[in-house]
């Protein structure tokens, strides 16, 4: 065992990378839940995004197009959930589960001929001067663009929810859909758009796995990241910046256990691999004491009767 082999700068840099997929999926789900919809299909949308992005990148050779296609794929899948819950008034928990099961099946079916291929690598954004700063340069300024997009997205969601009219309407729909309906807001339309935004974000997060983090396609490769993203929203008490904090925490745990595995710590690999999931449970327990922050209409079915 040799812990001195772990380079703190590289560790922090890979923390940012490991946090990005759950950050993207988490911030998307946050918007969905603030609109009063609980979509448990994040895992399904992520894995669909992963394969959609991977296929597009292999076919066109452009990771950028891949990410766009991944977002479209995730949004398209989430549209199924939107139709089920918003128009067919189905139970949101059951529909979300269905979406995950369906997405896992769909992705492994689409991905059959893509196992073992290697996608063209996504260029790192080598910011001149900044990336040359010792330590900080490696940690902060030597990443692919998606890492920064993730953080920018958190800022954008925060500002939108807090300062804009759109954010106010979204929150109104999530807190009390009957009142929002009475005020003349199109509850169903707003929710469908929010769900699709969540789907697109989850798709991006999934593609980050298959195009940058791993980068390869294997069946079920998201391995519960979608569920961790869901836990992240609870952890964050539905506040955007806390999602970022939570994602870094989980990213840190993931990276640390991987580093321990590589360094040959005396704990068996399987028990180290369990740790992100166990930490998620522990954090959920700590955070679930305060439920008051949850949007009041979360998970409730809206039907405008007469």
């Amino acid at each position: 065992m040799d812990l001195s082999a772990i380079n703190p700068a590289l560790l922090l840099a890979s923390l940012l990378v490991a946090a990005t997929p759950i950050l993207l999926a988490g911030i998307g789900e946050l918007v969905v839940e603030r609109a009063g919809v609980l979509n448990l299909g994040v895992e399904g949308m992520m894995i669909t995004g992963a394969i959609c992005g991977f296929m597009m990148t292999i076919i066109t050779g452009s990771p950028a197009l891949g990410f766009v296609f991944a977002a479209l794929g995730g949004a398209a899948l989430s549209l199924l959930f939107a139709i089920l819950t918003q128009y067919a008034l189905a139970n949101q928990v059951a529909s979300g589960l269905a979406l995950t099961l369906f997405g896992l099946g769909l992705s492994s079916m689409l991905g059959q001929e893509y196992v073992g291929l290697k996608p063209p690598s996504t260029p790192k954004l080598d910011i001149p001067l900044l990336s040359d700063i010792p330590f900080l340069g490696t940690v902060l300024f030597n990443h692919d663009i998606i890492v920064y997009i993730g953080i920018a997205l958190v800022a954008a969601v925060w500002a939108t929810l807090k300062y804009t009219r759109v954010g106010l309407i979204l929150r109104a729909v999530g807190e009390n859909h009957d009142a929002a309906h009475a005020l003349g807001y199109k509850v169903v339309r707003i929710r469908v758009l929010a769900i699709m935004f969540g789907g697109a974000c989850a798709g991006l997060g999934g593609a980050y796995f298959s195009l940058i983090r791993v980068p390869q396609w294997t069946e079920g490769m998201t391995a519960g990241a979608g569920w961790i993203a869901l836990a992240l929203v609870v952890f964050a008490s539905w506040k955007p910046w806390r999602v970022l904090l939570g994602a870094w925490l989980f990213g840190g745990v993931t990276v640390l256990q991987l580093n321990f595995q590589a360094a040959g710590v005396a704990i068996p690999v399987e028990y180290l691999s369990m740790s992100p999931y166990i930490i998620t449970i522990v954090v959920l327990v700590i955070m679930s004491a305060d439920k008051s922050r949850a949007p009041a209409s979360l998970g409730r079915i809206f039907h405008a009767s007469s």
Binding site: L40, L80, I83, L84, A88, L89, A90, N91, V93, A94, S95, L97, A98, L101, F102, G103, L104, G105, L106, S108, M109, Q112, E219, A223, G224, W227, I228, L230, A231, V234, P268, E270, Y271, S273, M274, Y277, I278, T280, I281, L284, V285, S288, A289, K291, H303, S305
Partner: protein, 360 residues
């Protein structure tokens, strides 16, 4: 223009009709899917739904219906109790794994002793393992109001790692030449869950599943606890006023579904599968969620739904062999079934009403 109008009472007719409608819709959409993939849709549907029952090799496939249906029914019965009360145990897969590990461990501890009491002890250990694994989300929910969906699901991934650790370490076959996986319980008569009637596919797990169906039916229709479960699901406010104890309900529903999932795992590892190995679990815990909904959370419905889902598994394997249909297509097919089911369920609680445009 059509408009949705809430029915004063859920329609009895559509409650029975919607699963059938969903199956038909899935067959149609599935046929389209197979056509897009370049297969003959009619042939594919026939291979999946007809040939395992009445085809040339049906004598081989019919017993498989019970072997695959047994664990699905057993798990789904447990899940349906919680789902009815709005308690969502999504981690049956994990409870299934832990039940199998505990049961197999007890059996292997006695190896190579032969005695009548070993198998019953394994059954108890399996049930306890599943129950204990489900008690984690249950206790956390009761004590800290932690979301049971996320906790039970996270525990699936933990259980999978535990399974890998067990089959590579503690339970590894010492005579296995270093290959991962435990001793095969098929070679250990005292621990082997043999067929009760040879060639029928009927092993102790299938029998337990049938018994579970009967008990669940009695519980839900004739027992106060069953009434509390239904009341909590259908009218939570009324349940609050009528002294239903939510803590007891959560502990019972999660504990029971864990126990049954653990039993399913034990019967699988000591019977059809035979050993603890890294890829022991095949997703029964997740498919059982579809089974529970397809059976409309009713014990008898679940019995039929479990057999039907077993049929798609077997038919899917056949179609893989004879037509080269990808395995994932069946998974997709099963997911689609749940989608259609949830969608047509609308007709049970709402009716479509024709409205003419008129000035308001």
């Amino acid at each position: 223009m059509f408009k949705l109008e809430k029915r004063p009472q859920p329609s009895k007719l559509f409650a029975y009709l919607t699963p059938l409608l969903a199956i038909l819709a899935t067959m149609f959409a599935g046929g389209l899917l197979f056509m897009v993939l370049g297969y003959n849709p009619l042939e594919a549907i026939r291979t999946i739904f007809w040939d395992p029952l009445f085809g040339e090799f049906a004598f081989y496939y019919r017993p498989q219906l019970l072997v695959k249906g047994g664990p699905l029914i057993l798990i789904a019965i447990g899940l349906s109790l919680g789902f009815r009360a709005g308690i969502w145990n999504i981690g049956a897969e994990g409870q299934y794994i832990v039940g199998a590990i505990c049961g197999a461990a007890v059996g292997l501890a006695f190896y190579p002793m032969e005695a009548w009491f070993i198998f019953p002890l394994m059954v108890i250990a399996g049930a306890f393992g599943g129950w204990a694994w489900a008690m984690i989300p249950a206790l956390l929910k009761v004590r800290f109001q932690t979301n049971e969906i996320l906790v039970s699901l996270m525990l699936v991934y933990v259980a999978e790692q535990l399974l890998a650790s067990m089959s590579l370490g503690l339970l590894k076959n010492p005579d296995g030449h270093g290959f991962p996986g435990s001793r095969n319980l098929k070679d250990y008569p005292s621990a082997f869950n043999d067929e009760i009637i040879t060639g029928s596919g009927m092993h102790w797990g299938v029998l337990t599943a049938f018994i579970a169906v009967i008990f669940a039916y009695i519980l839900l229709n004739r027992h106060m606890l069953g009434f509390s479960i239904r009341l909590t699901g259908e009218a939570p406010r009324a349940a609050k006023f009528s002294s239903v104890n939510p803590t007891r309900l959560v502990l019972f529903c999660l504990g029971m579904s864990g126990l049954l999932a653990g039993l399913a795992g034990l019967f699988e590892v000591s019977g059809p599968s035979g050993q603890i190995s890294i890829d022991f679990n095949t997703g029964y815990g997740f498919t059982a969620i579809i089974v529970a909904f397809l059976g409309r959370l009713h014990p008898v419905g679940i019995l039929f739904a479990g057999l039907l889902m077993a049929l798609t598994y077997i038919g899917g394997e056949m179609a893989q062999g004879t037509l080269g249909l990808p395995a994932a297509a069946i998974q997709l097919f099963q997911g689609m079934l749940l989608f259609f089911l949830l969608a047509v369920d609308l007709l049970t609680n709402y009716r479509l009403k024709r409205v003419r445009k008129e000035a308001v």
